[in-house]
Amino acid sequence: MSLNIQNLHANIGEREILKGLNLEIPKGQIHAIMGKNGSGKSTLAKVMAGHPDYEVTAGEVTLDGLNLFEMAEPDERARAGLFVAFQYPMEIPGVTIANFIRAAVQARLPKGEELDAVEYYELLYKKMELLKIPRNFTSRAVNEGFSGGEKKRCEILQMAMLNPVYCILDETDSGLDIDALKIVSEGVNAMRSPERGMLVITHYQRLLDYIVPDVVHVMVDGRIVLSGDKSLALKLEANGYDWVEKEVLQQA
């Protein structure tokens, strides 16, 4: 059982961004993708989620054997168990966090079944406590006027409430101070489970001190060019991305 990406090619307009990407994340593992700006990391997250701006030109992604691209709408993919914590989450004016997450939880119930409001709030408050989010947060509009740290915590709260099978965290560390980074990482670590796979996309090694990955991949120009254990992240930090590009070129 895994999230399996085979030879994925994707364009935005005429420009190819993903150029034959291969990656398999078995359930129970956390993988990290590191790479320079513009290497295609965020594109990977959006393509998997089904963002309408991107076109998949070749390749296949399976979610525990289910063909992801046979699900045309982003919401079908989400209900099949895929969750993306975005780098820049959207503001939804006037829609409270409580109502928003409730609508998402309700969407996962069989038709005709109503969410039990009491149970829902109990669970919501429990998860909020874990992420050190104050109670009055629930009546604020989704991401509206949030600080960077609040936005990221709100993403992790949604992830915790929706219980996804595969999670992609896109630059979750960006815009976080060290205290917020610790809280968010604790929230993510609490969701580590043999029943769940996670992909952490990041720029910096720092995040991986808190969310320790099983495997680290390096992405260059729309492909995974190097994979290794967590020490690879430290090596990257010490030598910079130019070192990877040289290494790859030498092998080629």
Partner: protein, 468 residues
């Protein structure tokens, strides 16, 4: 001539009709004979018969307001309309006495149930006349009068005649003249001094017949220090031909009185809804219109408040939803005619598909006044590029010590927002609904609970219908 397509939006709640035998039918078309027929059936006193005939002459002499309003008005053929249809002029006091064919309509719309749950009184109008009208005994015992306009003018002429046609003169506009000529139904309400009616009074207006015009006339007088909340709802089946609804509503709030008037308009997409609503607020009185327009083909409605007493307050809160083929032309009029008067206008419109919404606002503060304040906010939300929104504010502020503030915004629900919500598992239609409900959320919270739930449900239905 401009015609508009009728698009199939889910209006399952109101879109049904039963065949009914009408005892009284003024026939098709409008003439002095129509007026005499209506006056005879209703046993109008002479002054009302004369009032009607004078109004007919004014109506005939006035041009259509198409020099500023939609040319779709030219599609109303006055000679093809039926102006009066009823099964009798006496409303029943008990649902058991309402004829079966009419009763089942209101039962299907849930009116008797709502009455039991949370209303102080109900009037249910079916085409030209109220089929049912009743007020809870406890409220009636306080001296509150809640009857139809015919009963009001016959049984309470001393109050009725003093205010009738005084807030909105017959010749105010072509459609107020038409209403004054053929009016039937609507409510007459009088709240005695100091009486605060705890629960809302409600009127429900139902059009059942094709090629029909409904012209109810409502007059509400809140005596000194009294308070009342009035709610109206309306539906009609979706016919092939167009239907006309043209009401006149006059409110009078005497010293220190408060009137809240709430409308949830959900006419089917073939109804021309051309309504004149205005209130007169005396010293320290407060009039608040909460106006929600979801249905109709063309709505033109600009509820107003004339603040004629010191420290009077006027407010218009409006929500308009213009779906495919609909035009919601709404707004507010605030006339400050005394010192220290304040008014507030908050208008939110949503346009989707080929729907169009227009805001027209008129605020007047005279030169000799001081201490007056107006705040106007109008926000428009566009769901796709085909839709259109216009704002026409007309603000005249004279005098030195008055303040006026106007803010307007236009926003769109972006593809990125919809994608974000879909990534959480929410379908495109439900995501649209959430965003639209979010947009109007702060206004909906001012509605009584039962109505805000209904409003949310209506928005959900519209949004689901709007996504492929």
């Amino acid at each position: 001539m401009e015609t508009k397509p009728d698009l199939n939006i889910d209006r399952s709640i109101g879109d049904f009709h039963y065949d009914v035998n009408y005892e009284f039918d003024a026939g098709i078309g409008l003439s002095e004979r129509t007026i005499d027929y209506i006056a005879d059936v209703k046993k109008d006193p002479d002054w009302i018969r004369d009032f009607r005939k004078d109004a007919l002459r004014k109506f005939e002499s006035m041009p259509m307001p198409t020099h500023w309003a939609s040319h779709d008005l030219d599609n109303i053929i006055f000679q093809n309309i039926r102006y009066y249809l009823s099964q009798g002029t006496q409303p029943k006091r008990s649902w058991d006495d309402v004829p079966e064919d009419v009763k089942r309509t209101f039962e299907r719309l849930g009116i008797p149930e709502q009455e039991r749950k949370f209303l102080a009184g109900v009037e249910a109008q079916f085409d030209s006349e109220a089929a049912y009208s009743n007020i809870k005994a406890a409220v009636g015992d306080q001296g509150v009068i809640f009857v139809g306009s015919t009963e009001g003018l016959q049984k309470h002429p001393e109050i009725f005649r003093k205010w009738f046609g005084k807030v909105i003169p017959t010749g105010d506009n072509k459609f107020s003249a038409l209403n004054s000529a053929v009016f039937s139904g609507g409510s007459f309400i009088y709240i005695p001094p100091g009486v605060k009616v705890k629960h809302p009074l409600q009127a429900y207006f139902r059009i059942n017949a094709e090629n029909f015009g409904q012209f109810e006339r409502t007059l509400i007088i809140a005596d000194e220090g009294s308070e009342v909340m009035y709610m109206e709802g309306c539906t009609a089946p979706k016919f092939e031909t167009s239907t006309l609804h043209s009401a006149v509503v006059e409110l009078v709030a005497l010293k220190g009185a408060k009137i809240q008037y709430i409308t949830v308009q959900n006419w089917s997409a073939n109804v021309f809804n051309l309504v004149t609503k205005r209130g007169l607020a005396h010293e320290e009185a407060e009039i608040k219109w909460i106006d929600c327009n979801i249905g109709s083909r063309l709505t033109m409605k600009y509820p107003g408040v004339i603040m004629k007493g010191r420290k009077a307050r006027g407010e218009v809160i409006s929500i308009a939803l213009a779906g495919d083929g609909q035009h919601q032309d709404t707004g507010a009029k605030m006339v400050h005619a005394a010192d220290d008067t304040t008014s507030n206008i908050v208008s939110k419109s949503i346009s989707l598909g080929s729907g169009r919404s227009t805001y027209r606002g008129l605020v007047q503060i005279g030169r000799h006044l001081k201490g007056c304040k107006n705040n106007t906010e109008c926000d428009a939300l566009l769901i796709n590029t085909e839709s259109r929104t216009d704002t026409y504010p007309a603000i005249t502020v004279r005098g030195k010590e008055n303040a006026c503030q106007h803010e307007a915004s236009v926003s769109k629900i972006s593809a990125e927002q919809i994608f974000y919500m879909q990534q959480r598992g929410i379908s495109e239609g439900a995501a649209m609904s959430l965003a639209v409900n979010g947009f109007v959320n702060d206004l909906v919270q001012q509605f009584p609970m039962e109505y805000s739930v209904e409003l949310k449900r209506l928005i959900d239905l519209e949004m689901e219908g709007s996504v492929g």
